[in-house]
């Protein structure tokens, strides 16, 4: 187990390295000097000079790369071209909105999807089985921002029971207010996420219901419920856990878009604005942080999967299959 852990962590570090390289290349491969693009948004000469200095446009490319790697390793994300404030703290202040949003939405989606998926599989012969199927088909096809718009229209503008957007200025000092502004965004994301989670849960449940081992334990005298509880649950969890990591990452993406719908001051809206303003340090910083987050989540998900499924403990990586 320890050899696996060490190898997997080494893999994680290498992945981060590669990710940093890709980020570096993607932005350096722009035609011309990135600092020049600031001209198009009317930046002052001082800002442009500072930007140039930060990127090191006058230095040779390999040197830029080494500097870049050094910065990434120390989590020095540079300073914003526009506001000249350090990027790191800026991102941290936004995470205070985005992380709770993502986690709450994900939690809600899981809490909804697991029982619904189970029922959809177990009772597929009743009328509500195919109905649930149809609903989840719709759920994965619907744009998340549209759901947000419609929810705003209904609950904020028509019924006036929830805010149409925004987040308290003082962040979480008043948790009640903060949570109220998160209700609609969380529900929006959770609705869409649960649609796809339901399909996974349903598929995993069907596989368990069809399984031979369930039949064995029932033949030995276990009731259906006991057999499902003792054997079905863990076996169904295996395929579901394997995609939970990806689904969490997708939830994060949903959060990025939904922040625009609800005017939430999170990572997503900062990214969108930075892209429009060609504020590259911010863009790089946000992308680095989110990629880092996704890779770490993937690492944890892999670990959990290994803990649950003893069959995986011999192999080294998922892609080895």
């Amino acid at each position: 187990m320890t050899t696996y852990l060490l190898r997997r962590m080494a893999f994680l570090v290498i992945s981060l390295l590669l990710a940093s390289t890709v980020l570096f290349l993607l932005l350096r491969l722009l035609p011309g000097d990135p600092a020049n693009s600031l001209l198009s948004v009317g930046a002052s000469p001082e800002q442009i000079a500072a930007a140039r200095h930060q990127i090191g446009s006058d230095r040779p490319l390999p040197e830029q790369f080494v500097t870049w790697l050094g910065q990434m390793a120390t989590f020095d994300l540079g300073t914003s071209f526009i506001s000249t404030l350090p990027v790191g703290p800026e991102i941290a202040s936004r995470l205070v909105v985005t992380v709770p949003l993502t986690l709450l939405a994900f939690l809600l989606a899981v809490v909804v999807a697991v029982p619904v998926g189970f029922v959809a599989a177990h009772r597929s012969n009743r009328w509500y089985g195919p109905l649930l199927n149809g609903v989840s088909q719709l759920g994965i096809a619907v744009p998340v921002f549209w759901v947000g718009m419609l929810l705003i229209a209904a609950f904020a503008l028509y019924f006036h029971i929830l805010p149409a957007g925004g987040f308290p200025q003082d962040d979480w000092t008043n948790p009640g207010d903060a949570l109220t502004s998160l209700v609609l965004p969380v529900v929006t994301i959770a609705l869409v996420m649960s649609a796809s989670l339901i399909r996974y849960v349903r598929s995993a449940t069907v596989d368990v219901l069809d399984s031979d081992y369930l039949r064995t334990f029932r033949a030995l005298g276990s009731s259906f419920t006991m057999a499902m509880w003792r054997h079905g649950l863990r076996n169904a969890a295996v395929p579901v856990v394997s995609i939970l990591g990806i689904e969490l990452a997708t939830t994060f993406l949903g959060a990025v878009v939904v922040e625009s719908v609800f005017a939430l001051p999170g990572l997503g809206s900062m990214l969108a604005k930075a892209i429009a303003q060609h504020d590259y340090p911010i863009v790089q910083g946000v992308l680095f942080v989110s990629t880092f987050g996704v890779l770490v989540i993937g690492f944890i998900a892999d670990l959990v999967q290994r803990l649950i499924d003893p069959r995986l403990r011999g192999t080294l990586s998922r892609s080895a299959r």
Binding site: V22, P143, F145, W146, M149, A153, S260, A272
Partner: protein, 293 residues
């Protein structure tokens, strides 16, 4: 003595009885999907030849309610809504098909390469793919659009690139699976060259799964383009994109509901249609997959 339906685990002890059932269900799904997606495709094709008004025509008066001559009303700038929707169909499909074509070609090529590669190269490519896939698609797309000007081609490029990593990874797994089969060894020992093995054995065996996957990706690509447009990073006006239309209609969702509902409905129709086509293809092409319910 009684007739009853004993509840029990589903086990197709007679698999033959489920193949035709699966095929029938697959054909029904396929049909519905084709009708839905086909309707949108038809609208897009018609839009190439005729639209009720010129796209830039803002003479209709802002947010006019539905009624002749503007059958569905106008948007906040006075443009005819029906025209915008029709052009939006064209944009959505172009974005979807373009991204999938780009992602498909790059992805299959990369995946083939990785599938045949020896250990070190293969491990490197896998690591690279895992990383690219870790970059959430939308973020990657945003990055590419940031590097270029916001336009439809940027969006297609961005989404296509992001998609190619996913397609490549799937292709690699499929290729490896095929290469591990005995008939490949048999074919090689009888002297078939590698290119012929690829053409005759690898590609024919992987294309059904790939096709289904690409169909699913089409729906995702359409949604991704809509998201990009909603965020202002997609095709600029007068290229109408359903995503951008929704963003523009957000402020007036209660006063002019049609503009905030119609583009969303059309998006759902298109994506559901494409997904059903993918599911239907999967059931028809491989009905022995144990999916008895």
């Amino acid at each position: 003595m009684s007739q009853t339906n004993i509840p029990g685990p589903i086990k197709a002890t007679d698999p033959d009885s489920t193949v035709p059932a699966a095929r029938r269900r697959g054909s029904a799904t396929l049909l519905i999907g084709c009708v839905l997606a086909g309707a949108v495709v038809a609208v897009a094709i018609v839009s190439l030849f005729w639209v009720p008004f010129a796209p830039e025509d803002t003479s209709g008066g802002r947010l006019a309610p539905p009624g002749p001559p503007h059958l569905l009303g106008t948007d906040k700038l006075g443009r005819d809504l029906l025209t915008q929707l029709m052009i939006g169909a064209r944009v959505a499909l172009t974005a979807g098909i373009g991204s999938v074509a780009l992602g498909g070609i790059l992805g299959v090529a990369g995946g083939l390469l990785a599938g045949f590669a020896t250990r070190w190269l293969d491990d490197t490519i896998s690591a690279l793919l895992d990383i690219l896939i870790a970059f959430p698609t939308l973020l990657l797309a945003m990055l590419v659009v940031a590097a270029r000007e916001a336009s439809l081609s940027s969006a297609i490029l961005a989404i296509g690139l992001a998609m190619s990593a996913i397609v490549a990874r799937l292709t690699r797994v499929l290729v490896k699976r095929v290469l591990a089969q005995d008939y490949i060894t048999a074919s090689r020992t009888s002297g078939t060259s590698w290119p012929r093995v690829v053409a005759e054995h690898v590609l024919p065996n992987i294309w059904p799964t790939l096709l289904v996957n690409l169909a699913l990706q089409l729906g995702l690509a359409v949604l991704a383009e809509a998201s990009l447009s909603y965020l202002g990073l997609g095709a600029p006006p007068p290229n109408a994109s359903w995503g951008r239309m929704l963003q523009e209609a957000q402020a007036t969702v209660l006063t002019a509901p049609l503009g905030a509902i119609a583009p969303g409905v059309l998006l759902v129709v298109l994506v559901v249609g494409v997904n059903l086509v993918a599911d239907g293809l999967r059931d028809v092409a491989d009905p022995t997959r144990r999916r008895t319910r």
